[in-house]
């Protein structure tokens, strides 16, 4: 983020030739859907759960950042090549850690996310039984 702010600030301060801005067209599959609807659906579902690393809390499916476009290209081309969505997620998690995935899985660091709702469910059951079980 700091680098991003820095980049914007410096871009505003230093007058740069317009051509020096990022002008390369986006990756082929950044803004293009796969022809197979089932594959596209799988890709879309996965992209909605991957975090755009250059953005403020957005998925790569919701961002115009060039890097998000390149990540969409990765996802679509891998799905088209027959890779499983979860394998692609695992590939990215191997590189960026759990941060890149919006779908936490039960692990050493995330088990309370699942244990606490379970606890809430039990507590809710107990409260409802206790509070309303007694009659006046």
């Amino acid at each position: 983020m700091m680098r991003f702010i820095l980049a914007i600030l410096s871009a505003a301060l230093i007058v740069m030739p317009a051509s020096a801005q990022q002008t390369l067209p986006p990756a082929p599959l950044a803004y293009e859907q796969l022809s197979d609807p089932a594959q596209e659906e799988a890709a879309q579902a996965l992209m909605e759960t991957l975090r755009c690393l250059k953005c403020q809390s957005q998925s790569i499916a919701d961002s115009d950042a060039p890097m998000a476009g390149d990540m969409r290209h990765q996802v679509r081309s891998r799905i088209a090549a027959g890779e499983e969505p979860e394998a692609i997620r695992a590939w990215l998690v191997e590189r960026y850690g759990d941060y890149v995935s919006y779908a936490p899985t039960v692990s050493n660091t995330t088990w309370p996310l699942f244990a606490i709702p379970l606890l809430l469910l039990i507590v809710a059951g107990v409260i409802i039984r206790r509070r309303v079980g007694k009659r006046s």
Binding site: R3, L6, S10, S19, A20, T23, L92, E94, R95, Y96
Partner: protein, 176 residues
């Protein structure tokens, strides 16, 4: 049970307050660290980004000599700031290979003419493939890679004067 219900909320609230207070004192870490440290760089083969330098492939990183892998772009402003320090690293004997992200050959050539060319090889990564495969999330970033293509260290952001000895040290540790 009754005591728990009466004092529980205060306890939870105090726990939250402690956490929030602690986090306020911490500088916010906006960088996404790569989790590829200690792992080999996957296969890749990039075409040359500049006519004077060859492209970059995985074999070039496995030639037994530790290197700096610099991820940059001609459109990236901090990359201008780090150019002199890359030159300094180069003069001190570090071998630097470049990966240019989403860049045109003409822009690369102009950048190198203006700010110097410390690279022995520059690969053009038009789809951020190499960037993604090493777990980098921005430009510029510099990776220390050993002679077998294994990532030893990731430096996020532009290389400044104070980082030069540290990067040389890391290279020396890798057997340069």
């Amino acid at each position: 049970m009754n005591k728990l219900w009466i004092w529980g909320p205060l306890g939870l609230f105090l726990m939250f307050s402690g956490l929030a207070a602690y986090q306020l004192t911490q500088p916010k870490d906006e960088f996404v660290q790569s989790t590829m440290i200690g792992k080999p760089i996957p296969d890749f083969d990039l075409r040359p980004a500049h006519q004077d330098r060859p492209g970059l492939a995985i074999a070039d990183l496995k030639d037994g000599k530790p290197k700096l892998l610099n991820i940059w772009a001609s459109w990236c402003v901090p990359c201008i700031a780090e150019a002199p320090h890359l030159e300094a690293l180069n003069r001190a004997g570090a071998e630097i290979v470049g990966v240019a992200i989403r860049d045109r050959p003409a822009d690369v050539a102009r950048f190198l003419a203006q700010h110097g060319n410390p690279y022995t090889r520059i690969g053009a990564d038009d789809l951020s493939e190499v960037q993604l495969s090493v777990g980098s999330s921005g430009v510029p970033e510099t990776f220390v890679v050993d002679g077998n293509g294994i990532i030893l260290h990731q430096h996020i952001g532009d290389v400044r004067a104070e980082h030069v000895p540290m990067l040389l040290q890391k290279l020396a540790e890798a057997g340069a």
